[in-house]
């Protein structure tokens, strides 16, 4: 089954895993029809916990459940799980390395209509700053299926952010997800783009637009933490410039962690993302991405500028 929506891919993968693994429990805070936790509830009502509009309590209950051997997948919008339940996640789940999977749905700008209050532009920064936390941002629905399976097998706290909208896959269906493994989707030598989430697809389109003038390598970095530092340094060894691309603030997200990883290297880094601003409402996703210069042509322009500024 090919999916074109990360939420549906996630929800249906949970259902499939739940068939063989009764330890998987799913929790929601009155948004299960959106997070697709609803699919699990329909199939295994006794293993789905509707916790009401009380995210802080949900995450602490998840922590308690995990100590009884369950693998809780706690869902809500990314702004709410990473924001309202930050302290609960930090104090008990992360310090105790509890086996809780925190899934932030409608992440980034993907909840285009709801505006700044519902658009999580700092969730990866918040979760990534917490020791013991793994942070995953799949590129598309195919990768979401694989990542959901991978984080269920991994023992420990994980934050995974998912996009709300339908869009085409750029990763291979059925390819196993390895936490901490960057994935080269397009080879090139002049510029290396480290992209995550929806921006992986845009980076590939941008690279194609530039194909006649610049050779661009596009790497899908779905594991923001632990960042595969040595592997990224190896992948960038011949490039003149690195470009990072994320649907997240450039403060604390992929751009920041790449900057940290390359601090001891001379290679210049250009960061594409949200420039320390909140989102806003729009009538559709494309319109909002365009507003923030997150389109294939805008990304191509940034790559080009960066390359010509640093190619000598």
């Amino acid at each position: 089954m090919t999916y074109t929506n990360q939420r549906i891919a996630y929800g249906e993968t949970l259902v499939k895993m739940g068939k063989d693994n009764p330890k998987i429990v799913v929790m929601d805070a009155d948004l299960c029809a959106s997070t697709m936790g609803k699919l699990y509830e329909i199939e295994y009502k006794e293993r789905h916990y509707e916790m009401g509009i009380a995210e802080a309590n949900m995450l602490s209950v998840a922590a308690g459940l995990s100590t009884t051997g369950r693998i809780p997948f706690a869902n809500s919008f990314a702004v709410f799980v990473a924001g309202r339940a930050y302290d609960q996640i930090r104090q008990t789940i992360a310090i105790g390395k509890l086996n809780v999977k925190i899934v932030g749905s409608s992440a980034g700008l993907s909840d285009f209509g709801d505006g700044a209050t519902h658009q999580s532009i700092e969730d990866m920064a918040i979760m990534g700053a917490i020791p013991n936390m793994t942070v995953i941002c799949p590129a598309d629905a195919n990768e979401t299926v694989a990542a959901t399976k991978a984080i269920a097998k991994y023992h420990g706290p994980v934050y995974m952010r998912l996009n709300r909208n339908d869009y085409d896959n750029v990763t291979e269906e059925g390819k196993p997800f390895v936490i901490g493994e960057p994935d080269v989707l397009l080879d090139g030598k002049d510029v290396v783009v480290f992209a995550t989430g929806y921006m992986v697809g845009l980076a590939l389109k941008a690279a194609k637009l530039l194909a006649d003038e610049i050779s661009v390598k596009v790497v899908n970095v779905a594991t923001i933490k632990p960042l595969p530092k040595e592997k990224l340094i190896h992948l960038a060894k011949d490039a003149k410039v690195i470009v990072t691309a994320e649907e997240h603030s450039v403060i604390g997200g992929l751009g920041s962690v790449v900057l940290n990883a390359f601090a001891q290297t001379p290679i210049p880094i250009e960061m594409i993302g949200l420039e320390d601003v909140f989102g806003c409402s729009a009538h559709n996703y494309d319109e909002l991405l365009e507003h923030f210069n997150l389109t294939d042509t805008a990304v191509a322009d940034r790559i080009k500028q960066a390359y010509f500024a640093h190619k000598e």
Partner: protein, 273 residues
């Protein structure tokens, strides 16, 4: 119902535990004397009368769970756990030593027998609910005991958990409120007035038992009675005296977290002799 000998033994045990709290804080160091002493009889009754556990096998599947939601009195829980045999009593004086297994607040990974990390107030009841739901689904008759401070009840999450516990009919979950009426900076009633407590918990659908938290017979009766309540969670509201048993600390706000001088240290041990 309970033999005088058993009650006397438990009261003596509580006194030993209070003494060990003072010893583990030591001279010239600050520690949570007030809240440890107000909760000491309740914690003694749990560890030495009510709860089933095996200190040699802290992960025993059908053990009861204890959560110290008021995690700042970790030193009290450690004193009880040492007496119970989880680790040597001699470890207590090394509490907070860098790299040692006894941290300033309960630590799930470092101390065998600690069921979850607590310390950020207001979260223990939710943690306990998660455990209670899992244990019930596993068909175990284990019970989950959560000790909350009364000042902590100002945290909104306590009431999220209270609603959720009723929604899931978590009758294997017992909350105990150490109602000593004082918080770190002064009387609770002069801050966020949490009263009337019995009415509040009852309105959230809980079975409510109100006791004197320093009367061992009342504590045991309440713990045993709570087990018979089915279909909803139970809360024991235990009226206590902050600093109970230590003359200078009783009902003294400044003894919430107090640096013990040489004189205070010896006074406390003499009060508890």
């Amino acid at each position: 119902m309970y033999s005088k000998e058993m009650i006397d033994d438990l009261n003596n045990k509580a006194k030993t535990i209070r003494r060990n709290v003072i010893k583990s804080i030591g001279i010239g160091t600050a520690g949570h004397v007030g809240g440890s002493c107000s909760s000491a009889d309740l914690v003694t009754a749990l560890y030495f009368y009510k709860m089933k556990y095996d200190p040699k096998n802290p992960k025993m599947e059908n053990r009861d769970r204890f959560l110290l939601s008021k995690g700042h009195v970790a030193v009290l829980q450690y004193a009880a756990m040492a007496e119970a045999g989880f680790f040597p009593v001699a470890d207590l004086k090394h509490t907070k030593d860098v790299g040692f297994h006894l941290q300033g607040h309960p630590d799930y990974l470092k101390t065998p027998g600690i069921e979850a990390g607590t310390g950020s107030l207001g979260q223990g009841l939710s943690l306990g609910l998660g455990m209670a739901l899992g244990l019930k689904d596993d068909g175990l008759n284990s019970r989950v005991y959560v000790l909350c401070g009364d000042g902590e009840l100002a945290e909104g999450q306590i009431w999220e958990a209270a609603m959720a516990a009723k929604a899931f009919n978590a009758d294997n979950l017992l909350a105990i409120v150490d109602h000593n009426k004082l918080q770190a900076m002064g009387p609770i009633q002069e801050r966020l007035d949490i009263t009337p407590l019995p009415e509040k918990w009852a309105a959230f659908g809980w079975h409510v038992i109100e006791i004197n938290g320093h009367n061992m017979e009342e504590i045991l009766t309440a713990l045993d009675h709570a087990e018979t309540i089915k279909g909803k969670p139970t809360v024991i509201i235990a009226h206590t005296i902050k600093g109970k048993g230590v003359s200078f600390a009783e009902n003294t706000v400044s003894c919430h977290n107090v640096l013990l001088t040489d004189e205070m240290y010896h006074q406390a041990l003499s009060d508890l002799s």
